[in-house]
């Protein structure tokens, strides 16, 4: 395993990283944990001219939380540090569900959430839970900063709204709210070591015993993490019972557009979308009522 040749920088400020990225132009890539990039490079699928590591920028690995404004996760925060953060465990358990199934101990000690999003694999485990929880991402370039909802971010496998010269600086989650609950369920051939064959994220709001809001995002069954808007609509106004679950989970399977590959057949994936949607809605419902008390 020999890597292609590239030049390497580890700037100590975001400004320096941004001007390097701008200056080097095409062929320059930022690297966070490197767990996607190193694999792609060793397979010859990525040949960067320049690598700009973000890991020497102080403070970029911070996690901050306040009950009014929600959670901010810095772009170089490692997955392992998300897993041990009690505030995330308490307020955003669906994110923990995703991160704990990702990869293995060693990879989680290197990899980042921002890297998982920027890599934009259709199977990226963090995308469904972050999208259903209305996450936003902050992007910076030498021209300034902008903040986008994650639901608009993905454009295709490996494709995002991020423009050349932009660096993701942080990920934001809105403040936890009473009456809302979220869940993420995934299935794969070999637990976390293999990437997801299907992943389903759900967030619901429950008022007077019926679903008043719902967001359902399906992972690994379309070129991008897929909003199942028909299924969301069919959940509104209904109570949690078998009839509701059957209706909505069948609809989600119908809305998914999976392919057959080494991990699973399209038919199996559709069936699993139904099973996981049912389980995730049930758990999101339970979490929403737990937050009432």
């Amino acid at each position: 395993m020999r890597l292609p040749r590239f030049e390497y920088y580890a700037p100590e400020t975001l400004e320096a990283a941004l001007s390097l990225l701008e200056d080097r132009g095409e062929g320059a890539f930022v690297m966070a944990g490197g767990t996607d990039m190193m694999v792609k490079m060793s397979h010859g699928r990525l040949k960067p001219k320049t690598i700009i590591s973000l890991k020497s920028i102080p403070g970029m690995d911070m996690i901050s939380f306040d009950p009014a404004n929600g959670m901010m996760i810095g772009a170089t925060t490692r997955l392992a540090d998300i897993l041990t953060d009690l505030r995330i465990e308490t307020h955003y358990p669906a994110l923990i569900q995703a991160v704990q199934t990702m990869a293995n101990v060693e990879v989680r000690n290197m990899a980042t959430l921002a890297g998982n999003i920027c890599n934009a694999a259709p199977s990226a485990d963090s995308a469904p839970p972050l999208m259903v929880m209305n996450a936003e991402v902050s992007l910076a370039s030498v021209r300034g900063e902008r903040r986008l909802p994650l639901s608009d971010f993905f454009r295709g496998p490996g494709l995002t709204l991020m423009q050349a010269g932009e660096i993701m600086t942080s990920i934001h989650l809105p403040a936890p709210q009473v009456g809302r609950g979220a869940s993420y369920m995934r299935i794969s051939a070999r637990c976390g070591v293999d990437i997801a064959a299907v992943g389903v994220g759900v967030e619901v709001r429950v008022q007077s015993g019926v679903f008043s809001e719902a967001r359902i995002v399906l992972g690994a069954v379309a070129p991008v993490p897929l909003r199942a808007s028909g299924s969301e609509a069919s959940l509104i106004g209904k109570p949690l019972n078998d009839e509701t679950l059957e209706l909505v989970s069948d609809m989600a399977a119908h809305e998914s557009k999976p392919i057959s590959d080494v991990r699973a057949s399209a038919d199996y994936r559709k069936r699993m979308v139904a099973v996981l949607t049912r389980r995730a809605i049930t758990q999101a419902y339970e979490r929403s009522t737990a937050r009432h008390s």
């Binding site: 292609p4 190193m38 694999v39 060693e106 990879v107 976390g192």
Partner: protein, 165 residues
């Protein structure tokens, strides 16, 4: 252009000039001749290349050598620095029959060290989860799980004695 880096490996400081595309695995095995750390898959899937960098177990095949400049690395050679007395983890691996061909062993032992430093009394499930990134083609894993739990007990005892003395 080569980068000059300084790394502390198993307590010894080294200055190296490395190409940016050199992995930590290559630097350890080829530049420092520390061949206890293995290279299996090269893609983060097998765990054979696991080392500890600043207290965290990582895959040396997915780590650039330049990125560990100024950091401290522990490899399997660091478990028993004198070579005379084995580390409790190594002892337990031998006693429970957790080694056959040995190719996975250095990665397994380093993962065990990382696990036991963060969680001195792991349950069987916690041990299995801690090893989920490690493949072994020989032992069937049960002896490895047992070895780690035996080593955990032993390590607690020796630390306890050190505290008392």
């Amino acid at each position: 252009m080569k980068h000059n880096i300084k790394i502390v490996v198993n307590g010894d400081e080294y200055s190296l000039a490395v190409d940016p595309w050199r992995t930590l695995n290559e630097a350890l095995r080829e530049d420092l001749n520390l061949t206890g750390t293995k290279l299996g898959c090269g893609t983060g899937d097998c765990g054979a290349c696991t080392v500890i960098v600043d207290g965290r177990a990582v895959s040396s095949c997915l780590t650039l050598a330049v990125s560990v400049d100024g950091k401290s690395v522990t490899t399997v050679e660091g478990l028993a620095p004198s070579g005379d007395e084995l580390h409790p983890i190594q002892e337990a691996f031998i006693k429970t029959g957790a080694i056959q061909c040995g190719f996975c062993t250095s990665g397994m032992e380093i993962a065990a060290l990382h696990l036991l430093s963060n969680n001195p009394s792991p349950t069987e499930l916690e041990i299995r989860k801690g090893l989920s990134g490690h493949l072994c083609r020989c032992t069937g894993y049960n002896q490895i799980v047992e070895a780690i739990s035996v080593a955990g007990e032993k390590m607690k005892k020796c630390c306890h004695e050190e505290e008392r003395s």
